[in-house]
Symmetry: C2
Subunit: 269 residues, 2 copies
């Protein structure tokens, strides 16, 4: 009943590239029939969120979530659970306050920042060869040569292919014998470029951390969150999203004083 | 930096009424300048989510959430909390499985149902006189006479004005001397009408429950969730949303086996 319908004209109207390319007259006749379903304004919806459970990969030292069933339909007439979790579990937000004293907590982020043009920077080819691969300034400039300048208010996501390891926490953390983690992230220089040279709302990764695994100083975190941007970690399904032209919808945490917390993130286009 | 921009043409393209009314040619010249900001495809974003905290109103018997700060920037270099909460706290979802054995849990709802045309049915005038007011079939038919038939895949929200009591849990629950709750909700007949005569994805209320306060049998819940629809309770700011023409974006729970859970819900148009 709720399958997404093709509503190309409106979808294309949401894409800057289509705007600039096709100009006016996008709302041609074929769109009208589908306009009777106004909610189906997007051709595709992709869930960028992993299932949250006690078995997911966590940063070393974090305690797994607990799900405790308090009532069931059979015994009580209704079903419900108590949840107990560390904020930075699963597909989740890092609010500026996570690393910046006095920074915005997640529930206070202006709501307009939760809907943003989504730029997906693919580094899965180099990450397949080097688990310590980072998104560099060169990667961002190469992205822009191909897809145009990062739009104002963009959310910039790294797709490293790491999400394929999600169901194997050992492979996802990828710790060496010394305990050092190895997985891709944003380089501090790329973080600085995004903060200083572009106008973004936040960045996301399909790994455990905005900084790559071996980082000891969390410089990308400090640069991004220190500038009031938010991060999303452990994003899913970025391989299914076009590099440009989609929007990200971030169902961010709304609890008081949130340093972050689980999100429901969707990509639509 | 991220204030919403007026992008009327695209916004109107998302509205069926505008489509049918204005027909083609919506993407006239004024839209083009703003098209450089594709993420700002909506003129307005309204947060339908109350802040979640230990002080919010809860259904009698539910234990308040706990927020425990584990680390701080000053002491540890980063800030984070542990959360402990009943799934049905704050602005939250009731998944079909909350009342229907074998029903869908929240994390398994098809993601397309989380983006829906939002119909807001205002009963705040009668609710101001009668705290036990209900959305009736007549209210739904009156809505349709004014705003057109409920679109396929709609999310139907009751605005009773009850959200104004949110910060006063005693007034929000409104228990009488016998312990009976008094607040508005959907009548069982209206729930049956929506399930049988229309194609909706779910319903929402600005009160504690889909059923009105005095309900003993939770018939509206059983009818709606039993038919695979989801509910949202304790919605905020519905007074700011037009009766027709907006979309609801539901950042629903993604934890395993979710009977529901806190959501981040936004209205956009």
């Amino acid at each position: 009943m709720c399958a997404p319908l093709v509503m190309d004209a409106v979808n294309r109207a949401l894409s800057r590239r289509a705007f600039l390319g096709a100009g006016l007259g996008l709302l041609a006749a074929p769109a009208l029939a589908q306009a009777e379903v106004p909610g189906k304004a997007f051709r595709r919806v992709v869930d960028l969120t992993h299932e949250l459970s006690p078995e997911i990969p966590l940063f070393p030292g974090a305690e797994p979530m607990r799900i405790t069933t308090l009532v069931t339909v059979r015994q009580n007439g209704y079903y419900g659970n108590r949840l107990d979790l560390w904020e930075h579990s699963g597909t989740h937000m890092d609010a500026p306050a996570h690393f910046a004293e006095g920074g915005l907590t997640a529930e206070r982020l202006p709501v307009e920042r939760l809907i943003a043009p989504l730029a997906v920077v693919h580094i899965h080819e180099k990450a397949a060869k080097d688990p310590d691969a980072q998104v560099t300034v060169d990667d961002l400039l190469a992205y822009e040569r191909q897809h145009g300048r990062l739009p104002k208010g963009a959310f910039v996501a790294m797709h490293s292919g790491w999400e394929a390891r999600w169901r194997d926490p050992t492979a996802f953390l990828n710790q060496d014998a010394s305990g050092t983690l190895h997985f891709p992230g944003f380089s501090p220089e790329a973080a600085a470029f995004l903060v200083e040279e572009r106008e973004i709302v936040g960045v996301g990764v399909d790994t455990l951390s905005l900084d790559f695994g071996p980082s000891k100083d969390f410089k990308a975190h400090l640069t991004l969150l220190g500038a009031g941007k938010y991060g999303l970690e452990n994003l899913a399904n970025l391989a299914q999203v076009p590099p440009a032209g989609a929007l990200i919808l971030v169902g961010g945490p709304k609890h008081r004083g949130a340093s972050g917390g689980p999100v429901r993130a969707l990509a639509v286009w």
